[in-house]
């Protein structure tokens, strides 16, 4: 009887101890330098797309984005421009909608097709069905960019964060974070600004 109580008390204590998480918890998801997972997600043409399908790519511009978020919308043309510029240099854009259409009906698969057609998307626009991919990457909002470089060890995360420093006025942009990172990678140089933060819409799980 006494041992049972002791075991019970121990379990209770252990449980209580783990209940108090530290304020500065390590954020889930990738850090720069991590190897990013590949995936097999449905594109708007109903075909499945994976990073490994792009045999000639030197890397990828993975962008978590969606239909409804005004921040994502503000960047749509710039995302198309990124693809147009860097796809031919080996870095295609791969857009992924991380939202749950049941929680946010404007981010439905059907509306993804409409969006891609309206804005002339030149890249895959995939649905993170089951929402298993975005948590691995650690995306917290839309838009959220992960630039990956293909290496013999896998696709290494080289940049995480915002596309540039001005969502509202393209002419007032001072720093093009994503382009700077890509230009550095293409020259085999170190990316100087590896991580930035941006305001965006939280992901609807």
């Amino acid at each position: 009887m006494k041992t049972t109580i002791k075991i019970f008390a121990f379990i209770l204590l252990a449980g209580l101890a783990s209940a108090f998480t530290y304020k500065t918890t390590v954020a889930a998801g990738y850090k720069v330098g991590d190897i990013a997972t590949d995936f097999s997600l449905k594109n708007i043409d109903n075909k499945k797309v994976s990073l490994k399908d792009f045999k000639n790519a030197k890397g990828y511009i993975v962008i978590f984005t969606c239909n409804h978020c005004p921040y994502a919308q503000a960047y749509e043309d710039r995302i198309v421009a990124l693809d147009k510029k860097y796809k031919k240099m080996g870095y295609p854009v791969i857009a992924i909608n991380p939202n749950n259409p049941e929680k946010q009906k404007d981010d439905s698969f059907e509306l993804m097709k409409v969006k891609a057609k309206e804005k002339g998307f030149t890249f895959p626009y995939l649905l993170d069905e089951g929402q298993k991919i975005y948590p691995q990457y650690g995306a917290t909002k839309t838009p959220h960019v992960y630039i990956l470089q293909k290496t013999s060890n896998g696709n290494v995360v080289k940049y995480i964060g915002a596309i540039d420093d001005n969502y509202s006025d393209e002419k007032a942009i001072k720093t093009k974070y994503a382009e700077n990172a890509l230009d550095a990678l293409l020259k085999n140089k170190e990316v100087s600004v590896k991580e930035t933060k941006a305001i965006g819409c939280s992901i609807k799980a």
Binding site: P70, N166, S168, K174, A198, S202
Partner: protein
């Protein structure tokens, strides 16, 4: 010479006094008036040294979970007024949508908490100044009184909000 000294000392006195920052713009529509600040102006609201508990919520009219939790903040603001709790709702609506979306929204919902607007597109330069753990997603809330401060990147029910405010009160 005397005049110069007087003028200079006047300027010195004026600049030494803790002043309210100048908004970039003040948007008005009937009874609704919203001051719009860049981050250096807004920062003043995050560093007050008086005895009030400030609940500063970052939101936008297009952010569904933000709009859903607003009634909880309004309820708190009303219920805790005599306990020196002040809710400040910081909208990060796009500047070009303030007149078309924010002002009508505030009027329609009859928001009683103080609503201010933040206009500072280089978010990377100030997100960490609000809190280093903030990813930039909204809704997000800071609850503070003098040096006691907590930051939350989440939505709140009324009970949760009340509980967190009581930790600082």
């Amino acid at each position: 010479m005397k005049r110069i000294i007087t003028l200079l000392s006047m300027l010195l006195i004026i600049s030494c006094k803790e002043e309210e920052p100048k908004p970039l713009q003040i948007y008005k529509a009937e009874e609704v008036s919203i001051k719009s600040y860049d981050f250096s102006g807004l920062d003043y609201l995050l560093k007050k040294e008086n005895d009030t508990t400030y609940v500063v919520n970052f939101w936008a009219t297009w952010c569904v979970p933000c709009v859903e939790e607003l009634p909880n903040f309004e309820k708190l603001n009303a219920a805790y007024k005599d306990k020196k709790v002040k809710v400040v709702l910081v909208s990060i609506d796009f500047p070009k949508m303030v007149e078309s979306k924010l002002l009508p929204f505030v009027k329609k919902h009859n928001l009683k908490s103080e609503v201010v607007h933040l206009n500072d597109p280089d978010a990377n330069s100030w997100i960490n100044k609000v809190d280093s753990s903030w990813s930039g997603a909204i809704p997000a809330t800071v609850i503070y009184r003098k040096d006691k401060r907590n930051f939350y990147e989440k939505s709140f029910t009324f009970e949760e909000l009340e509980k967190e405010v009581n930790k600082i009160l």
